[in-house]
């Protein structure tokens, strides 16, 4: 009976998940690589939120220590900016945007730096959480149910799946090679 109560609780929690959205074009691995200047694996050291200078919106910056450059060039510590965050009593929820927490281990597709700011390419589609499961490092997509997706072919977008981290890196490097961004 406890087992069924647990299933019931699981179902209840499943329908209670918070969700909202912005709308994004579904990106392929090729799109993500083409839109990124580098892909890195790293760990979040610090997160800070502040009102952007015009006072229109709150942004959040994460300081990420780069542990590995999967492809492309990146400094040893990269500051990644996203929209949304909390400052004092004010919270801006930026649905479908990347979020960061201190100590998160991440794989990030990074847009080329622009105006001194680096952002995640593809929003949540370019962010994976690195988690060790059963002795294997897995890349868990950050995409949740808070992003609406537009697909080119009219098909319902399949949820992104967890993938072995080494296989994801191999796939990224393969795409970068095909795009002429990585030597053999």
């Amino acid at each position: 009976m406890k087992r069924f109560m647990a299933i019931g609780l699981l179902l209840l929690s499943a329908v209670a998940v918070p969700a909202a959205a912005s709308t994004f074009l579904k990106m392929t691995q090729k799109d993500l690589v083409q839109n990124s200047g580098a892909v890195i694996q790293g760990q979040v050291l610090k997160v800070s939120s502040f009102w952007e200078p015009t006072g229109r919106i709150i942004v959040t910056e994460a300081m990420v220590r780069v542990e590995e450059k999967v492809y492309g060039e990146a400094p040893s510590v990269v500051v990644v900016r996203t929209f949304g965050g909390t400052v004092g009593d004010f919270t801006v929820e930026a649905h479908g945007f990347p979020t960061f927490r201190v100590n998160d281990r991440l794989l990030l597709y990074l847009e080329p730096e622009k105006d001194g700011v680096t952002r995640v390419a593809g929003y949540q589609q370019g962010q994976f959480h690195v988690v060790r499961q059963g002795g294997v490092e897995m890349a868990i997509p950050a995409t949740g149910d808070d992003a609406s997706v537009v697909t080119r072919d009219g098909r319902v977008a399949a949820p992104a799946q967890a993938i072995r981290l080494d296989l994801l890196k191999e796939s990224i490097r393969g795409e970068a090679r095909r795009a002429g961004r990585l030597e053999n």
């Binding site: 209670a16 909202a20 959205a21 709308t23 994004f24 919106i57 929209f83 004010f90 929820e93 697909t151």
Partner: protein, 207 residues
């Protein structure tokens, strides 16, 4: 034990069955506007929309249409007017749809972004929304409105903004394919401009 198992299995299946009928999700924590908000739709319009009005009137009309949230059966839920959004900012209590994205939040593969988070407790376990705003990647896609021909890569604006307005009102996503609040849409599909039974149930639960 067998009877218990069957009852429990039936309960689980009943839950699954019910969720396949109505699968709307509300923002968490649950929140509502005290009175229908008036969304200001950017009077500059979207240049790629070839309806002679840059889409502004059709987008405004779609948001307040009786085929959308105002036709759910519980009275008007949202008002909209075309006007200046030069004062766009979060937290000012004036919901705005800014096609030009003054903060550069929606670029690359982002079509439209909705920002929420401004709400306060009413002190009785419910929450009052005080602001929500949207921006659009106006020059990154081929936007169109109803009636325009679709060559295969146009994004129909009415569907996108009726969906985003659902979030502004306090709704999350539905798992019912074809619902306005379903999180996937395709090029040339303006279906989300018209709400479905699941959307109606969600908005009527909220208000």
């Amino acid at each position: 034990m067998k009877i218990q198992s069957k009852v429990a299995t039936f309960a689980v299946l009943a839950c699954l069955g019910a969720s396949s009928v109505f699968s709307y999700v509300l923002l968490s924590p649950r929140r509502t506007w005290d009175s229908p908000p008036t969304l200001i739709v950017d009077n500059r319009g979207i240049p790629s929309i070839a309806d002679g009005d840059l889409g502004r009137t059709r987008i405004r009309n779609a948001i307040v249409s009786s085929s959308a949230w105002n036709g759910a059966g519980t009275g008007n839920r949202v008002n909209a007017t075309v006007g200046s959004v030069s004062a766009w900012r979060m937290g000012d209590g004036r919901p705005m749809l800014n096609f030009r994205d003054p903060v550069g939040a929606c670029t690359g593969n982002c079509l439209a972004a909705t920002f929420t988070g401004f709400f306060q407790s009413r002190g009785n376990g419910t929450n009052r929304i005080t602001d929500a705003d949207m921006v659009t990647h106006y020059n990154g896609f081929d936007w169109a409105t109803a009636g325009e021909a679709c060559s295969g890569s146009e994004i129909f604006a009415e569907g996108v903004f009726v969906h985003e307005t659902g979030h502004l009102l306090g709704l999350g996503h539905s798992t019912v394919s074809g619902a306005t609040m379903f999180p996937t849409v395709s090029f040339c599909n303006n279906g989300p401009a018209t709400i479905e039974a699941d959307d109606r149930a969600g908005i009527n639960d909220l208000y």
